[in-house]
Symmetry: C2
Subunit: 241 residues, 2 copies
């Protein structure tokens, strides 16, 4: 079965956590909004979001079409894919644990977004720069160390001592750890140069994921959209003093 | 088996979504931080959060202990409980769908929280009042109608026409809808007096959930903590002009 991924075509954004899982699993998928032609492109995505009849209507991209099933919410898509593609433990407790970690990634991502949009997503960054500077300062001082400290502790305490976050093998939350480190380094290079050395385990995990052959092939391809100032991770030098 | 719920003792907060599910299921549970005595109280919760050995360490409350298993993240706890207590559809697609809706509740709750803390959770509301006024204005104008509009559409499109959000019976996301309406009315009575009439289906669902006998008994008991200005839903009149 060929999956259909629906996400904004010009950014990594939240869709990237799903793209990384599909790529790591070498799953057959089409990135609908990035294709042109019949039934493709952003209009195809908007038609589904605006459907007046769809019972399982997604609130926002990303969402995944798997046969007749439409699955929304990044972490929920990963829960679905993880079980099918060996990117999560097989037992129920293990699956819930990896999902719990992914939901903490979700929380972190929302806070990362709000460093540049603390007042309203409906306003431009330029209209909330002063507030963004305050929020980013607190974020870098308190929240990044708290989240990375937590994830590093989980990694260190994994009873499997596998070098992965949970269980003995690569799971989708490892892919998300890679993306968090990659994105934070893009958005906040100065702060991360200071913070990252305190989180050696996560940096090692990031490097190991980057070398996982299907991930390495993906990162070197044009399917990987470069970071830019439209996504979750944005580099505004004034927020990274 | 008696569940142990760990959450801050003085607020409804995120823990309330779990309390409502435990109560609706008439599950046997102890609200650990609200009890005194050996192994009880907030110190018992803090010991688990600060554990140097626990493999499945939660990032934050609420978390649930079920036998040897520790489960964190509100939506993940509900995923776990829903399957065990008939508060979610039995089939996998139905379970993912209810969970997807719950993750959209999670996003909404984060935005509700940030109306009074747009800059930093580490600062007092009083230190970010001006920014909170801006964020709350946008929230009431754009975000509440968007989220309630979405949830109302889902309710109306449920192919089971059951009057519940998903499938033919009460699920945990119906309980969360009740809590959202209840909390928004507490925090923003003026705005909700204007907005709620446009979302009649959700208001009817709220009323139906409130009359579900185990929920009604819970709401009338002293186990239900009143809303206050320490939780997610806070009534600051200046944010509800």
């Amino acid at each position: 079965m060929r999956y259909e991924l629906y996400y904004w075509p010009g950014i990594q954004g939240r869709g990237e956590f799903v793209r990384l899982a599909l790529e790591a699993a070498e799953a057959d998928y089409v990135d609908v909004a990035r294709r042109s032609g019949r039934g493709m492109g952003t209009p195809a995505m908007m038609r589904m979001l605006e459907s007046a009849t769809e019972a399982c209507l997604p609130f926002a991209p990303p969402f995944l079409k798997a046969g007749d099933q439409i699955i929304g919410q990044t972490a929920n898509i990963l829960l679905f894919l993880g079980g099918r593609h060996g990117l999560a433990p097989q037992d129920e407790a293990g699956r819930l644990w990896v999902h719990q970690l992914q939901l903490t990634v979700t929380d972190f991502v929302a806070e990362i977004h709000d460093t540049h949009h603390p007042i309203a997503a409906s306003l431009y960054y330029e209209d909330q720069k002063a507030e963004a500077a305050m929020r980013a300062e607190d974020f870098l001082k308190h929240r990044v160390p708290k989240f990375l400290g937590y994830f590093g502790k989980v990694l260190a305490h994994n009873p499997h001592k596998s070098g992965y976050m949970a269980g003995g093998e690569l799971s989708y939350v490892d892919l998300s750890m890679f993306q968090l480190i990659e994105g934070l380094r893009y958005a906040f290079p100065n702060a991360m140069a200071r913070i990252a050395p305190k989180h050696r385990g996560l940096i090692d995990l990031h490097d190991r994921v980057a070398q996982h052959p299907p991930v390495a092939r993906y990162l070197a391809s044009d399917r990987r959209i470069p970071f830019n100032e439209e996504g979750i991770f944005r580099h505004y030098p004034e927020l990274d003093a």
